[in-house]
């Protein structure tokens, strides 16, 4: 498998480590409740199809990436820097 890192270009998947679903948002702050945190930590859609997921380019630029990949075919349609995605999301939340 080859993943095109947003910063480094295409690399073998052995350079990356996988975390999982990138659509989940951590319930932040002292107001967050345990039920929401349980949901965030434990429950997954586990889609068969396009899956947005977090990968870490640990053997490269150490960037976290949001990869959109079809879990049935492994076809990757998008890779974005996670920090950019996260910032955009936070802006969206704030708006």
């Amino acid at each position: 498998m080859r993943i095109r890192c947003s910063h480094c270009g295409e690399r073998d998947n052995g350079e990356f480590s996988y975390l999982g679903d990138a659509t989940l948002a951590r319930p932040d702050g002292m107001e967050a409740d345990a039920a929401a945190m349980y949901d965030y930590v434990y429950l997954r859609d586990n889609l068969a199809g396009e899956h947005r997921e977090l990968w870490y380019h640990g053997a490269g630029c150490r960037a976290w990436l949001v990869v959109t990949r079809d879990t049935r075919t492994h076809t990757i349609s998008d890779v974005s820097p996670a920090r950019d995605v996260a910032r955009t999301r936070r802006t969206g939340e704030a708006a």
Binding site: N13, G20, Y38, R44, N46
Partner: protein, 416 residues
């Protein structure tokens, strides 16, 4: 026809003419007491024990392909009960005991081979962790031996003791562990369930789960609607897909685990051996091929294949442990889809929906659990209460914190 040396010899004289299909290729009826979704090892075992232990025979096993086409036919055939946590220990030991009497019970030779499972350790810390586990096993009455280096050498003299990057210091041995011919487990249970009246329905894909007033009433399938009082999901690898039909999210991810077999050779190793300093475990099939594997590829996948990075990792582990493997050839490698749960342990439980039962989250350990999973799942379905040996496999344990995390990896499925 009952299987025995006599029937085999008899048929040899008759040109094998009289053998019948090992199970009926049943067409689905319109209604059952219990519909089991998934004709893998667990599904057919559950049907068998429903019939045998609980007298419930109005049962259908619905399989989208053919019996045993999933992980029961893709694994590395290892059976063991060398677990260390109280939630797991009684369950896997029950499974081991069922393995020990399986063939006579179902009249099918599944080649249960108690050749021992040897986990190697390479550091004092690993040794102590194995001691902790072995002691827990012994307290539960399960056999466990902690071998030192010489003890290991006596069993597997050919591994690298002299030039190893991570020298072998000893191992945890469970002699009652071993291997079982995987396909035969599925076939044997299917045949035995069929003989007790269970309908084994192949080529029947479940496309929906119908509910009425919060209660399950049946399943939509590629062969029409089938009414059922109870529906039991036993579809490791695809659990989340089935669960999504009733809007249920689960603490499960689907991951691909690769397995490997070498060309057949004369006997080399007569135990199951696990490398403690790399991702590699190996045994030899009765046919002569070395059957081996390693870690999961580590990303969500429903494709039954993996990638080179993992393959090389496994082979490096193999060569590091056993340098005599170099000229042996890899014959075939394939991938299976695992239900990786959030704590590395399974779920056998009711769901929030009346009449819907769940057997899932087996990670890469489902094969060894087949008899007990069938036994305990049948118990749950029949009595609506968990079997004592599987009582810890609750779905709410993630919320309550009663995790069964043997490796201590936390809520990251790909690390279990």
């Amino acid at each position: 026809m009952r299987y025995s040396v006599f029937s085999v010899l008899g048929q040899a004289l008759r040109g094998q003419r009289d053998w019948k299909p090992q199970w009926r290729d049943a067409a689905p009826r319109t209604e059952y007491d219990v519909v089991i979704v998934g004709g893998g090892g667990h599904g057919v075992a559950t049907a068998y024990y429903l019939a045998k232990e609980h007298g419930i025979t109005n049962v259908a096993v619905l399989e989208k392909s053919h019996i045993g086409s999933g992980n029961v036919g893709r694994n590395t055939t290892i059976v063991r009960s060398n677990y260390g946590l109280p939630g797991n220990i009684p369950f896997y030991e029950q499974s081991m005991k069922l393995w020990e009497s399986l063939e006579q019970d179902i009249n099918y030779n599944a080649m249960v081979s108690q050749r021992g499972v040897l986990n190697l350790y390479h550091s004092d810390g690993q040794r102590d962790a194995y001691a902790r586990r072995g002691n827990a096993m012994r307290m539960a009455g399960i056999d466990a031996e902690l071998l030192d280096r010489d003890g290991v050498r006596a069993m597997v003299p050919f591994i690298d003791f002299d030039n190893a990057r991570f020298p072998v210091k000893g191992g945890l041995l469970q002699r009652r562990g071993g291997t079982v011919r995987h396909d035969a487990v599925a076939w044997g249970y299917a045949r035995a369930a069929d003989q007790r009246g269970v309908d084994i329905v192949q080529n029947c894909a479940v496309t929906g789960i119908r509910r009425d007033n919060g209660r399950v009433v049946g399943v939509e399938t590629s062969r029409g609607f089938i009414r059922a009082k109870k529906v039991a999901l036993s579809v490791a690898g695809s659990t989340s897909l089935l669960a999504s039909m009733v809007d249920m999210r689960l603490p499960i991810e689907s991951h691909v685990l690769q397995a490997f077999v070498s060309e057949g050779v004369k006997p080399l190793i007569d135990t199951v051996m696990t490398f403690g300093a790399g991702h590699f475990y190996v045994s030899q099939s009765d046919k002569g091929g070395l059957v081996f594997g390693g870690d999961i590829d580590g990303y969500n996948s429903y494709a039954q294949r993996g990638n080179l990075a993992t393959i090389e990792d496994v082979m490096e582990g193999g060569m590091a442990l056993w340098p005599g493997l170099g000229r042996l050839r890899l014959l075939r490698h394939w991938g299976g889809i695992m239900d990786m749960s959030m704590d590395g342990s399974p779920i056998i439980d009711r769901t929030g929906i009346d009449g819907l039962y769940l057997n899932a989250g087996w990670c890469y350990g489902g094969f060894k659990a087949t008899p007990a999973a069938g036994f305990c799942f049948a118990h749950l379905i029949a009595r609506d209460a968990p079997h004592a040996d599987a009582a810890a496999y609750r779905l709410d344990r993630f919320a309550t914190g009663h995790l069964i995390d043997e490796k201590g990896m936390g809520a990251q499925p790909n690390l279990h």
